[in-house]
Symmetry: C2
Subunit: 335 residues, 2 copies
DNA sequence: CTGAAAGCGCTTACAG
DNA sequence: CTGAAAGCGCTTACAG
């Protein structure tokens, strides 16, 4: 194969030569630690401009033993939040890091090996995984698993998710609902686990009834199947779905068996999906500040990479419950 | 800040020492070009295993002047196809490349500068942009703009998109529709441009009527606004939307003014959004093979990086028109 | 405030 | 088939 070599860029030596200084001085100029004669700085300034010099970051990495790169591991199944990824990428860039995409294919074991390999490879300084993986702590570099790091560091992860779930149930109970059902996400996901835990806690705390909890694979079809499989006399009047896709599947399943939404069945989602917002009925849901999530996760990771204390999370609520058309009081017969 | 240094890995020198050979021989072993005494190979084999040696890729990059990294530029606005990104990432990894995420924020000019900078930085060997950018050709490294590369190389881009649009209109015309409307995407996107062009061509070719074409910003809200703003006597019975999000906004807009979908108005989308699939009415749409798109784009880019001829695109149809509940014959009065 | 030296870990010619 | 040499472009001590 005819490897095409890109044209070479100017080196630090050429800049030094043109400016009439040593290359170390240019290196110092790049670091910009203040102490430098203005005349020298000016000469280097113009040499850099004349040659359109940009430091070779690979060479820098080699010397500093830092890559200034982070990896983000995305679940290969279904959906992932692109707003989060974009915010993560932007935050990383601002801090001088590149963000590599890695997809987590295969089973739990394979995913762990993939991440462990990546951590060992020396290719990145830190890893943020949005996919659930059980990576042993104490590796070569920091590995953050989304959803879990909050718990460890701020004790906020579970709480943040939890407050929204209990707010949802509170609201539905206020409308008169007594019998609930939870469409859970795969329990390998921390977020899905949290929502289920708080669902059960809140049901118990308020003295309500849960007809059951079913774990789905995040697909609308699985939610559809669960709802159509419910006994006619189950008494469920409100479904708390772990996300909007599940909620849509649930609503469609309800329609298919003659249950009206929200008249016969109320359905709550999670994520504020744009399509679900314009669906009929429009989805009641939880608006999540994905930008803040992505930013916080990366800042957290960078702090770990640098051995600094974890930064405080973004102020303001991460989750916001939004009521739309998919919920209503239960039918009179069920009250 | 207390920079934490990750533990060092074994070097090629240590492997060489343990195996009792020179480090060049180990380097040769890594390249595996055949000619090597079996005994030597075996000694190196066990040294590599004993030390858990993995080559330092940064050092390799420095020497070879190739980073083995590609960048994928994502539009910062709205939606991006995660299946495509995941497939792109997996394909890149298989070929020995890492894939960096870059988000394209800001206006057209700013985006161009960002990509030009990236191309000049020496950080990546090639760039694939899913965001529309007008990057001048002939830069340091190959830059592929999604949607345009097909045209240049296989003459397939426009055709592939086009055939689906004309198939949609054909089908609707077959149902009796005569007056159409197109909700276009931002015309900076090649895909949006193609769909609009073929829409107009097909309307003309079949002797149908187009009430108009409106450019949206890909948001459901913009589609909603356009549909609610249509004059009551416009005569439109079929809307061809450039994607499912727009289609949902259009349907909701129709509902809001008392038009039934599909009885009064047929709406076609694009993308096979999972939520739209379970909406009521379910969206008629175009199923796009995103995996093939992502794979083909990366293989194409890698070929360009290596100076090889472009590989043939994946066999099989890229787009497939799927009819669901959102379309029907026009109301009798309109025929 | 600036320069001469050393070295990060690898690969690519060049000898033998 | 294998080894000694050179060098990729930078930064980090160390002198002065």
């Amino acid at each position: 194969m005819a490897q095409v070599d890109p044209p070479r860029r100017a080196t630090i030596h050429q800049v030094a030569q043109l400016a009439g200084v040593s290359h170390q001085t240019v290196s110092r100029y790049l670091r910009d630690d203040g102490g430098m004669k203005p005349a020298t700085r000016l000469r280097i300034d113009s040499a850099v401009k004349a040659l359109d010099y940009r430091p070779n970051l690979v060479a820098r990495s080699m010397r500093t033993r830092r890559t200034n790169r982070l990896a983000i591991v995305l679940p290969s199944t279904l959906y992932f939040p692109h707003r989060l990824v974009l915010a993560a990428s932007a935050t990383a860039h601002e801090a001088g890091y590149q963000l590599d995409i890695v997809s987590a294919e295969g089973g739990a074991e394979q995913r762990v090996r993939r991440i462990t390999d990546l951590a060992d490879s020396g290719q990145v300084d830190g890893i943020l995984s949005l996919a659930p993986v059980d990576v042993p702590a104490g590796g070569r570099i920091p590995v953050l698993i989304s959803g879990t790091y909050d718990e460890q560091m701020h004790g906020l992860g579970e709480l943040a998710d939890g407050s929204a779930v209990s707010e949802i149930i509170d609201h539905l109970a206020g409308l008169g609902h007594r019998t609930f059902f939870h469409l859970a996400g795969p329990q390998s996901f921390t977020s899905a686990r949290n929502r289920k835990v708080v669902y059960l806690e809140t049901i118990a705390r308020l003295g309500l009834r849960s007809y059951g909890v079913t774990e789905t694979d995040w697909s609308a079809q699985s939610a559809y199947d669960v709802i159509t499989g419910l006994p006619a006399d189950c008494g469920v009047t409100a479904v708390v779905a772990a996300n909007d896709v599940l909620a849509m599947g649930a609503i469609r399943g309800a329609f298919s068996r003659g249950w009206r939404v929200p008249d016969d069945l109320s359905v709550f989602g999670w994520d504020d999906d744009e399509v679900g917002r314009f669906a009929t009925p429009s989805l009641s849901t939880v608006v999540v500040d994905r930008e803040a999530q992505g930013r916080d996760a990366i800042l957290h990771l960078i702090a770990a990479v640098r051995g600094e204390p974890a930064p405080p999370p973004s102020p303001g609520p991460l989750n916001q419950v939004v009521v739309r058309e998919s919920i209503a009081p239960p039918p009179p017969a069920a009250r």
